[in-house]
C-alpha cells in the first residue's frame, strides 16, 4: 500500500508538495481506478503480458540495450539505426512502470532495475546520456554533430532522448518509489538546465518532449530550474535566424519544428504533428504552473484550428505523410491520410491538459474520439502488431506508396509501438478528475474508484457495457453522507454534436435525449461546460443512472473537405465505423450508402474479441471478370468499429461512403 500512497501524493503534487499555481483541476490518479470492464482491461492486460515483454525483447534483440552497454564500455559502434533508439527503452520502462502498479511483478521489476544499471553506466560523469555519441565521441552517429548539442535543432535528438528519460524516470519513481532511474534523470536534467537558457546556450529542441519531462521532474523535486528550463525551451522557439520565413517548405521556414514564430504568436497547428502535440501539451503544463496567459491564448487558438479544420473524423491528426505533419486547413485527404499513431497519443496528452486547464468537456470529447478510434487502431488486439500510419481508406488498384495496409511488428523507427506501450496502462488516469467540491467523470468503463474529496473518501463504481451500450450506472459510496457535485460528461455525440467543431456534423438531429435518474427517479439536470452537474448530499448506495442515446449516426463533413463531399461516415457512441472487405463480399471501395439506408446494431461475441457491428443493406458495384460489365446490386452491409480493422488480412477498408454517385473513375490496373 505504501506504493499507492506515494503515487497519490506524487500525482497531485500541487496539493501535497508545492502549493503553488497549477491546473485548477486535479487528476484522480490511474492507480485509484480499478477497472473490471471488458474493453480497456483486456487491452491493459495484453499490454502487460505481451506488448511490454515483446518490446523489451526487441530492445535487446535489435541492439538498443547493447548501445547502452557499449556506451558504458566506451567501445564498439552504435548498432541501431536512429540516435533516438535509446528512447524505446525509456518508453517501455515508463509503460512497464504504469503496468507494475496494476500488476505487481517482481521479475519485471528486477529486469527494469538491471536495465537501469546499464543506463546509469552509460551516463557520462557530468550527466550527459546519449549512447549515439558516448560509445565513440570521435565518431558519433552521423545525425549528431561532432560536438554535444551541435545538431540538436536538426537531427541529433539529444534533448528528445533526455525528455523520454525524464518521463520514464518520473513514472518509475512514482510506481516503485525507487530513485535509481530518477537520480539518473535528475543528473542529466541538471546538466541540461546548466547548459541551456536565456542567458546560456540557445536552442529550440529539435523534437519536443523534454518540456513535459522537465515539468514532471519539477513536480517531483520542486526544483524551479526544471520548470524555468522547460519554459525557456518553449520560449526559444521562433527565434532562430537561419530559416527562410517566406519559404513554403516547412523545413526551410522552421514550421516543421513549430520554430517559425515565437509560440505566443502561433495560432494554427503546423508542422510535424507529434512534435506539435508535445509542444502544445507542454505549453499547457507551463501555463498552468506559471499562469502564463499568452501561452493559453496560443494553445486555445491552435486547438480551435485543429478541431475545426485539421482533424480526421476518426480523431487522427497529421494528414500529410511528407513530414508527418499537419496539412493546410481542410486538407484531409483519405487516400493518403497519414495519421501517425504517436500523433494520436500526443493529441490525448494535449487534450487532457486542456481539460485540466479549462474544465470543459469538449477536450475530453476529442480525447475520447482519439482514444477509441484513431489511437487504438494503431495496436493490434494481439498486442504485438502495429500501425505507424492509420489509413482512412484502402482500395485495391491504387494503394498509395506511403500508406500501410497491414499491421506489422516493430518498425525500424519504433516510436509508435513503444508509445502505445506507455499510453495503454495509463488510460484509467483519464477517467476521473476533481476540483474543490466537484468530481468529474470523464470516461466510462466498469470500475471501482476511490476519490478523496475534502479529505473524505468516496468510492464510486461504474457498471456499464460501454462503448457498446449507453446505459451507465454509477454507485456512490461516501464513507458518510457528503455534499458534493458529481459532474458527468455528456459526450458531444450524445448531444447531436459529431465533434465540438464545425468540421463534422450529424446529418440528422436525434430526438432521443440524455436521461438521468438518481435512485431510479428521473432528474432534471443542468449542463455546464458539457457536464451534467448533479448536486446532492450523497450517501452510501446512491445510484445514478445515465442513458446515452446510442443510435447509429450519419456523419457529414464540412464541404471544404474536398475528399468527403457527398459522403457519409457512421458513428455509434464514441466509435467511428468502417466497412472492411471480409464482411462485404471481399470489397469495400464499391459501396454506396443512400440516404434511405437504416442500420441495426448488434453485439457479436465471436467477432474481433467481441464487438458491436452495424448491419444494413447497401448498394455495391460489381465488376465482372471480363472487366467490361458493371452492375449495382443491393447487398448486405456490415460495418465494424474502425479500431478493429486489419485483423483479418489485407484488403479494402472505407470510412467515408458516397451517398450517391455523380461520376466514376475507371481504374484499369
Amino acid at each position: 500500500m505504501n506504493r499507492i500512497i506515494l503515487l497519490v501524493l506524487l500525482l497531485q503534487p500541487v496539493v501535497s508538495l508545492c502549493q503553488k499555481a497549477d491546473y485548477p483541476i486535479q487528476v484522480v490518479p490511474f492507480t485509484k481506478v480499478k477497472l473490471n470492464d471488458n474493453f480497456w482491461l483486456p487491452r491493459i492486460k495484453t499490454n502487460h503480458t505481451v506488448t511490454i515483454p515483446a518490446s523489451f525483447h526487441r530492445c535487446e534483440e535489435t541492439g538498443r540495450v547493447k548501445n547502452f552497454e557499449m556506451a558504458a564500455a566506451k567501445s564498439g559502434k552504435f548498432c541501431t539505426i536512429f540516435p533516438f533508439d535509446d528512447t524505446d527503452i525509456y518508453k517501455t520502462i515508463e509503460g512497464a512502470s504504469f503496468s507494475l502498479s496494476l500488476y505487481p511483478d517482481k521479475g519485471l521489476e528486477d529486469y527494469i532495475d538491471s536495465l537501469i544499471i546499464k543506463i546509469k553506466n552509460a551516463q557520462e560523469p557530468d550527466g550527459y546520456l546519449y549512447t549515439a555519441r558516448t560509445i565513440n565521441p570521435d565518431e558519433p552517429h552521423h545525425w549528431a554533430g561532432k560536438q554535444r548539442w551541435e545538431k540538436e535543432r536538426e537531427l541529433s535528438h539529444e534533448l528528445y532522448n533526455s525528455g523520454h528519460l525524464y518521463e520514464a524516470a518520473a513514472a518509475h519513481y512514482q510506481a516503485t518509489g525507487k530513485r535509481n532511474l530518477l537520480d539518473i534523470a535528475l543528473k542529466n536534467a541538471d546538466l541540461v538546465c546548466s547548459t541551456f537558457g536565456h542567458d546560456k546556450k540557445h536552442v529550440a529542441p529539435g523534437h519536443q518532449v523534454i518540456e513535459m519531462g522537465l515539468v514532471k521532474l519539477y513536480r517531483i523535486t520542486n526544483k524551479k530550474e526544471y520548470l524555468e528550463t522547460a519554459k525557456y525551451f518553449i520560449e526559444e522557439r521562433g527565434h532562430f535566424k537561419g530559416y527562410d520565413p517566406n519559404s513554403k517548405d516547412p523545413w526551410k521556414s522552421g514550421a516543421y519544428w513549430q520554430d517559425h514564430k515565437p509560440v505566443v504568436e502561433q495560432f494554427e497547428a503546423v508542422g510535424h504533428a507529434v512534435r506539435a502535440g508535445y509542444l502544445y501539451a507542454a505549453m499547457a503544463d507551463v501555463a498552468a504552473l506559471t499562469d502564463d496567459k499568452a501561452f493559453v491564448t496560443a494553445i486555445d487558438s491552435i486547438w480551435e484550428n485543429v478541431v475545426t479544420k485539421k482533424i480526421y473524423v476518426q480523431g487522427g491528426i497529421g494528414a500529410v505523410g511528407d513530414g508527418e505533419r499537419f496539412g493546410e486547413n481542410y486538407e484531409l485527404p483519405n487516400r493518403t491520410a497519414y495519421n501517425e499513431t504517436c500523433a494520436a497519443i500526443a493529441n490525448v496528452y494535449w487534450n487532457h491538459r486542456m481539460f485540466l486547464l479549462h474544465g470543459d468537456s469538449k477536450y475530453m470529447d476529442v480525447l475520447e474520439k482519439s482514444l477509441y478510434n484513431g489511437l487504438i487502431s494503431g495496436v493490434g488486439m494481439d498486442g504485438k502488431s502495429f500501425f505507424y500510419t492509420n489509413a482512412m481508406e484502402i482500395k485495391d488498384g491504387q494503394p498509395h506508396k506511403d500508406m500501410e495496409t497491414a499491421r506489422s511488428g516493430w518498425f525500424p523507427c519504433s516510436c509508435c509501438p513503444t508509445n502505445v506501450t506507455r499510453l495503454i496502462p495509463s488510460i484509467p488516469g483519464y477517467m476521473y478528475a476533481q476540483r474543490e467540491n466537484n468530481i468529474y467523470v470523464n470516461l466510462f468503463a466498469s470500475s471501482t474508484t476511490n476519490v478523496e474529496l475534502n479529505k473524505k473518501a468516496i468510492e464510486i463504481t461504474q457498471q456499464n457495457n460501454y462503448p457498446w451500450d449507453g446505459k451507465l450506472v454509477f454507485t456512490l459510496n461516501p464513507k458518510a453522507p457528503q455534499d458534493f457535485n458529481l459532474l458527468i460528461r455528456i459526450p458531444g455525440w450524445a448531444n447531436n454534436q459529431a465533434i465540438p467543431s464545425s468540421l463534422y456534423s450529424f446529418e440528422h438531429m436525434s430526438q432521443e435525449k440524455v436521461r438521468i435518474t438518481v435512485n431510479k427517479k428521473p432528474v432534471e439536470f443542468k449542463v455546464e461546460k458539457g457536464y451534467a452537474v448533479l448536486t446532492n448530499r450523497w450517501k452510501k448506495g446512491d445510484v445514478v443512472e445515465v442513458d446515452l442515446p446510442m443510435e447509429v449516426r450519419r456523419v457529414v463533413a464540412n464541404p471544404h473537405v474536398m475528399d468527403d463531399i457527398g459522403k457519409v461516415a457512421l458513428q455509434r457512441g464514441p466509435l467511428i465505423y468502417c466497412a472492411e472487405w471480409p464482411d462485404n463480399n471481399g470489397k469495400a471501395g464499391n459501396i454506396i450508402l443512400p440516404d434511405a439506408v437504416k442500420f441495426s446494431a448488434a453485439y457479436r461475441n465471436d467477432l474481433l474479441n467481441g464487438t458491436t457491428i452495424l448491419t444494413s443493406e447497401a448498394i455495391a458495384f460489381v465488376i465482372d471478370d471480363t472487366g467490361q460489365s458493371v452492375t449495382t446490386v443491393r447487398q448486405p452491409f456490415t460495418a465494424i468499429p474502425y479500431y478493429a480493422w486489419a485483423h483479418r488480412g489485407t484488403g479494402e477498408m472505407m470510412i467515408w461512403f458516397p451517398k450517391k454517385i455523380t461520376n466514376l473513375d475507371l481504374i484499369s490496373r
Copy 2:
C-alpha cells in the same frame, strides 16, 4: 517577284551569303510552296483574315501599343500586366510578315509600318527597347530591377523582348525587303552584344529566345558578334552561383531556367518547357553554325529523353502545371496535363532544326505529331479562340483547377495566341528540304513547289487528301530530265512505330505495308534514316504514288506511365483521336474500349470543318438519376481528331480509354 527572290536568298543565307558551316540540309522556303489543300490552307487563311487582325486589335485594345507610345513620350504608366507584353506586337508582326508573302495586303503592310514607327520612337538612343522601363525609368515595372538588366535572370524578360523583336525583324525584312524594323533590331542587338559576353556583363537570359533571334540577325548581316553573343548566352547557363544545387525546387536549383548545369552537361529535359525548347533549338542553330559537337551531344541526349520519357501521345510537352515544366521521367498524368501550346510550338522549332542537323525522319515524325495534334488543338477553327493548356482528359466531377476546359479569347498572358499567329503561316516551310542532290519531302499536303537543285528548277506537285487519306501522288516536273534522289518521309506510324521511341507502341503490328509506284509501276525502295530513297533520272510528268496504310491503330503506353496502364489510345495516320461528349451520349469518361472493338473510319464533310471520324461500339457506364444504380451498356462510339475537340461547348473528353476495369472510384460530387 522581287520579294520572293529576296526571301529565297535570305532563308538560305548559308549558301547565298556566308558560305560557312551551317546545317547540312537546307530548307525549301515556305514561299516556294503554294498550298492548295483543304487542311492547312484554310487555317492559314483564317490566321490571315481573323487571327492576325484580332491579335493586332487586342494589342491596341489592351494597351500594348499604348505602352510603346508612352515609352516614346517618356510619360504615363505601363498599362498592361507583364513586362513581356511588348512581344505580342513583335510576334504578331512576325506572323503577319509570313502571311503577307502569301497574301499581299497593302493595308496590313501600312499598319505594320505605323507600328514600327511607334516601336522606333520607343527605342532609347543607345538601342535599349523595353517599354516597361522606358516609360518611367524611375518606376519601372515591378518585375524589372531599378537598373537595366538587373533582374534579367529572374523576371524582367528584357532579353526575351529583344529576342522576339529580332525574330519579327528578320521575318519582316525577309517578307517585305524593308529595313525599318530590322534596323531597330540591329541597333538593339548591337547594344546587347556590347553589354553581354564572356568578358563583359554576365547573365543567362531568364527566358530564352534571343539566342535564336541573334542567329537570324547573324544570317542576315553576317555580323559575327551576333552569333558569338548567341553562343555566349547559351554557354553562360549553369554558371550562376546563387542556386542551391541540391534543391528539388526547380526555381531554387536553376533547373526551371535550364540554368542548373552548363548546357553541355545537360542530358535530360527539365524546367519550363517553352524556355527549354527555345534553348535546344538555339543550341542546334549554334552547333550547326560553329560545328560545336558538345552542343549536339547534349541536345541528342535531351531529345532521346523527351521522346522516350516526357512527351504525351498527342505530342504535347511540359506535363507539370506548376512551373509549366517537364516532369520527372514518365510523369505524364492525364488529369493535370499542362501541355502549353507555346511548348508544342517550341518543340516544332527544335525538331525541325534536329532534322536539318541529322537528316533523320524521326524528328519530322515528332514535328508532325505535334503539329497535327497538340499544337493546332491550341487554336480554335474560328481563329480567335485559344487554349493555353492542352488537356488530356476532361471529366465531370473532378476538373483540375489549373486545367482549361474551354477555349477562350486572348489570355492576360497572351504568349500562346501570338505564337500560334506566327507559327501557322510558316507551316509550308516545313514541307521540303534539300541537300546536294537530294530533295526531302517531309509533310504531305496538296501543293505546288519549286525547288532549285544544282541551279536547275524542279516543280513538284502533291495531290492528296492527307491526313484523311494515305494515298499520296507526287508529280515531278524538272525543266529538263535530271538525276536526283527524291526522299519521301515514311512516317513512323506507317511503319508500325507509334512514335520513334519506347514510350508508345501499337498494340497490333499492321500487315499492310507502304507501297510506292513510279509511273504506276510498283517499285522496290530502300529506306534510309526513315526516308524512301527514289533515285532516278526524273523527267517532266513523272508520277510517284505512295500508299500509306491508314488503318485505325490502338496505341499503348510504356507501363512506367502510371496513368495509362491498361488503357488504349487511338491513332489514324498522324492523328490522335479523342472521344468527346457531344458524340457519345453526353459523356466520355465512362467509356471502355475492349480489345475486340473494331473501328470504321469515315469522312464527315458536315462535322468540324470536315473531318474523318472513327466509329465503333463501346461499353459505357450509365449512372441513373438517383446516383444509386449503374449499368454498363453497349453504345455507339465516336472519336474525333484530338485537335478538333472543344468546339461544341464544354464537357467530357478522353484520349486514353480503359480496356477493362479492375476497380472504380466512386465520385460523389
